[in-house]
Symmetry: C3
Subunit: 126 residues, 3 copies
């Protein structure tokens, strides 16, 4: 696992969220050494008012097309790998789901490898 | 970003959640050196049964008016700053949304500055 | 607090999620030194398509009965304690809610003790 949580504004079909999820996963596989089958995601939509964002923080113009991505993953990726991931994720989300790159927000939360169980009550990475 | 997730029990209007979100943000700006425009929040309500809390842990009486706040933010705030934040958050949430201070629960998750992208596929803080 | 987030696929009654939550809490109390009254959980169900999982990563066969558990808790538990927790959680979730052990996924996020307020605007653990 990384465990990926993705939130978008309500009003688009489930296929939109799925396309965003596909794009995020592809970017992780290509830049963060995530195995192709290591895919676990929680997708969801939020009513207007429940997905709150600043429309210009850091001089980036944002719209209701916003995609909020939060990923829990093992520590150990370098800053360069993270930068490559952000770039690819924005590129792929834009290409696959028509989201403006300005509207792609990403947050990473790092944990240690013994902090996961992938099933059967076992710490597979420990 | 901090990325703020706020959950309350279902049954109140969206304006209630918005008022809680405003109060949390104001407290972060005043005590944690968060820029005023650095506001990103995911708000939501949960059916009874899906928001589970102990009604007296640590001898604090809690009710269904509970507000659960979880904030992902950069590491580096001192214990004193965090204490000031908790106090202001409870005060402002109470004042703005009529929530009992006993019902304000807060969890912080700290990350490093290269763990954010605010748009455009760039790690703006790295 | 630990703060526990549990997600399952939609289609089962709320009592299913509650049984899973009970089982996770019991396992935490028995293996992670969590006080019995220290129980705070956010439960929810997701539409098919919004709970994404690989059906065979690490050669573990998974089904739509999947239970995704993410727990924010204080750092300090040993690897052995975490392993004991995973085993008990899978066992109890299986026994209480009929979930296959293969379908129990767990993610831990560790924080420091000053990162919590349990009410009243105070950092009770700091």
């Amino acid at each position: 696992m990384p465990l990926v949580r993705i939130a978008v504004m309500a009003g688009k079909p489930a296929s939109h969220r799925a396309a965003v999820g596909d794009a995020v996963h592809r970017a992780m596989v290509e830049t963060l050494n995530v195995p192709a089958k290591d895919r676990f995601q929680i997708l969801g939509e939020l009513a207007q008012g429940d997905l709150v964002y600043d429309p210009s923080y850091l001089d980036i113009p944002r719209t209701d097309g916003l995609v909020m991505v939060q990923i829990t993953l093992n520590a150990g990726r370098t800053v360069e790998m993270k930068k490559a991931f952000y770039a690819k994720a924005a590129e792929y989300i834009h290409a696959a789901a028509g989201v403006r790159k300005e509207d792609v927000l990403i947050s990473l939360v790092e944990v240690t490898k013994e902090n996961w169980s992938f099933g059967n009550g076992i710490a597979q990475y420990a």
